[in-house]
């Protein structure tokens, strides 16, 4: 087991290395660099000043040179200073992570909470009305462009009924503290999370359903029945434990999707999260942040897969590393 994990970790590092090269070279191709952005249209900026700023921002380096100096610092945990926020990237990420984690984490949890039971139910009643309705609703969910869905929800609940805030994370006027503050935050997160869950739950539900169908037709389920186990135990224990195996692996794979999704949702609801910042960084050519962000996600993804592989071994005794 230990060697396996070590081996995997080494591979992860290798992969991260590849990712960084890929990302850096792409990011480096971006035409509008930060300096030309902030100096744009500023009539009195002289070439000398721009050059000075470029050096200050380290934009004067070539691709290879730039990459290695970046890599060098990165290895020491220094991902440079965000141009836009004038703070170390690591700090910026740390600062904006909570919102994203809250959004993504809660949504992920809810998605699983919905997907698993409904998927199982649909599988047990394959071809029944229940099955069709669940699947249909789930698929309608994943067939909606998130921004479209979000806009409509906003229109109804925030603008129309005025029962939920339009955007942002807290109500500015009032200095809530403690529980009240939490409640206020929650209120602001309702819509984003709804969008997230509705547009995301479908694929997982479908996945659960398929696996359940597969398991239900397995011999050992018949054995369990032959033992005289009540149906709910057959499903809840014997079948479920086996569907769990693929679901575990699924969870690891959810991570990149979650963060990509966060980019859109956060920007629509003006949540102060990593994705939102990343979007801004793209438009501003804030290369250090982009690199930091993308590497962060990449690492998260790899760890996610690693963890789920380890969990795999936990839920499936046949698997041993």
């Amino acid at each position: 087991m230990r060697q396996y994990i070590i081996k995997r970790l080494l591979i992860c590092i290798l992969v991260l290395f590849g990712v960084s090269i890929l990302l850096y070279s792409i990011a480096h191709m971006v035409p509008g660099d930060y300096v030309s952005n902030i100096t744009a249209g500023n009539q009195n900026i002289t070439p000398e000043m721009e050059q000075r700023m470029r050096e200050a921002y380290g934009l004067d380096k070539g691709l290879v040179e730039g990459y290695f100096s970046w890599l060098g610092d990165a290895l020491h945990g220094d991902f440079g200073t965000s141009f836009v926020y004038k703070q170390p990237v690591v700090e910026v990420i740390g600062k904006y992570m909570p919102a994203t984690l809250a959004l993504a984490g809660i949504s992920m949890f809810l998605e699983l909470l919905l997907a698993i039971p409904l998927g199982i139910l649909a599988a047990r009643r394959q071809y029944s009305v229940t099955d069709y309705t669940i699947v249909a609703i789930a698929i309608i969910g994943i067939s909606l462009p998130s921004f479209f869905f979000a806009a409509v929800l906003k229109r109804i609940f925030a603008v129309g009924l005025g029962i939920l805030p339009v955007s942002g994370m807290v109500t500015a006027r009032v200095n809530y503290t403690g529980l009240a503050l939490f409640g206020d935050l929650a209120k602001h997160f309702i819509l984003p999370i709804t969008v997230f869950v509705i547009t995301g739950v479908g694929s997982y539900l479908r996945y659960v359903r398929t696996n359940m169908l597969e398991v239900l037709s397995a011999d050992y389920v018949r054995t369990a029945r032959a033992k005289g186990l009540p149906e709910r135990k057959v499903i809840g224990k014997h079948a479920f434990r086996n569907t769990l195996i693929p679901i575990v692996t699924l969870v690891g794979g959810m991570i990149p999707g979650l963060f990509s999704g966060a980019v859109i949702t956060e920007s629509i609801f003006a949540l102060e999260g990593l994705g939102n910042v990343a979007l801004k960084a793209v438009y501003a050519g804030d290369i250090p942040y982009l690199m930091g962000f993308n590497m962060f996600i990449a690492a998260l993804t790899l760890i996610g897969t690693l963890v789920s592989d380890i969990l795999y071994a936990v839920v499936d005794p046949r698997v041993r590393y």
């Binding site: 018949r222 054995t223 032959a226 033992k227 005289g228 186990l229 149906e231 014997h238």
Partner: protein, 386 residues
């Protein structure tokens, strides 16, 4: 043209199936089934199971498959019944019908009775009708089953202990965890597994033979009145087969349970069964004591089977094999299903399906060769027996 009415054909089938499914689901949803619906009377109190014109159908896209079509036979208490026949002749479906394990809604018991003589309550239940609740009480407790595929019949993610104890404590809720484990080990000993720590093992850690023993142990755990063994050895390699068979044989003496042994291996039957039922294409073509079947086979099919099994004492240059193969199970013909493979057809064979006639009080056969002359045969049969 042909294509067209084929399509219509299929549409009709689909409609029909849907109707059947709906009925089935309605049936399943019923929580409580009034006793009156499934209480019945045993024909003979010494029997543990009585199949009475059992009909188990599969409603498939291409039409209704009558896997079991009007099967009637009894399983006396403490006796072993061998059910033989080529694969796909409805042996397994019969057994699954007893357990009510047919894959609904496609597979259903379409008619007939399966009378079960429940010792614990002294009632006679019609298993074809009982509610799932009742059934769950019976399964694994009074009737248990041994499946073909030891590789897949055990749940890969639970330990042997879990799966075994689960079964025991389920049917004996009063037993303490400790007692349950002891019982489990006991049964395992009974099937010849003494290795300690076995309870902690996972199925994939055991050999095929071992697993089959575990499966058997599971079946015996609650000392049932009837054990259904569905091809318990086919999936195993020969040496293991032998072991398992020995096991089953002395188990047969150890536990005073009836065994319904389903196999296509006549040898096994010959060694173990008291009575033999020969099935062909979902129907019983011949049934009787082991002696009747093995020494006085009456039905051409049985005869064929006999011929086709290797004998040590007599030398044949080439094993006999029955020509042709089982007719398509969908909409079978009206005449004898075996007709087209039969080498001793008579005119009557083109007539309606032959009914089951008694050659002796134990020996029954359904073949035109024996129609009518039943009475005469009876005596001669009797003589021969004497």
């Amino acid at each position: 043209m042909a294509d067209k009415n084929q399509r219509q054909e299929l549409k009709k089938i689909k409609k029909y199936n849907l109707k059947k499914y709906r009925e089935y689901n309605k049936q399943m949803r019923k929580k409580r089934v009034p006793e009156s619906e499934y209480l019945t009377k045993m024909k003979n109190p010494d029997n543990i199971i009585e199949f009475d014109n059992l009909q188990s159908y599969f409603y498939t896209d291409v039409g209704t498959v009558k896997s079991v079509d009007g099967v009637t036979f009894d399983i006396p208490r403490g006796k072993t019944i061998g059910v033989v026949g080529e694969s796909g002749c409805g042996k397994s479906v019969t057994s699954l019908s007893v357990m009510r394990l047919l894959q609904g809604p496609q597979g259903q018991i379409a008619g007939g009775e399966i009378r079960f003589n429940q010792q614990s309550t002294g009632r006679a239940l019609n298993l074809a009708k009982v509610s799932m609740k009742e059934m769950e009480k019976i399964r694994g407790n009074e009737i248990s089953m041994i499946f073909q595929e030891p590789m897949t019949t055990l749940n890969p993610v639970f330990t042997i202990g879990d799966q075994l104890c689960e079964c025991i404590s389920l049917h004996n809720p009063e037993m303490s965890k400790k007692a349950v484990e002891e019982r489990a080990l006991e049964t395992l000993k009974m099937v010849g597994i003494v290795r300690d720590g076995i309870l902690k093992n996972y199925p994939h850690e055991l050999s095929g033979g071992m697993r089959q023993r575990v499966v058997i142990a599971m079946a015996l755990a609650c000392d049932p009145q009837l054990v259904i063994a569905d091809e318990p050895t086919t999936a195993l390699d020969v040496t293991i087969q032998a072991q398992i068979l020995d096991l089953l044989r002395d188990l047969k003496d150890k536990i005073n349970a009836s065994i319904m042994l389903i196999t296509h291996d006549l040898g096994v039957v010959a060694e173990m069964a008291d009575y033999v039922v020969v099935m062909y294409a979902g129907r019983i073509v011949e049934q009787g004591t082991a002696d009747d079947i093995f020494h006085h086979p009456a039905h051409p099919y049985t005869i064929g089977l006999m011929k086709s099994r290797p004998m040590l004492n007599q030398k044949v240059d080439r094993l006999y094999s029955i020509p042709g193969n089982v007719p398509n199970p969908v909409n079978l013909p009206e005449y004898c299903y075996f007709k087209n493979r039969c080498d001793s057809c008579v005119e009557a064979c083109s007539g309606p399906y032959p009914s089951l006639v008694s050659l002796s009080d134990t020996h029954k056969v359904s073949c035109h060769l024996h129609q009518g002359e039943a009475a005469h045969k009876k005596q001669t049969g009797g003589k021969q027996n004497a």
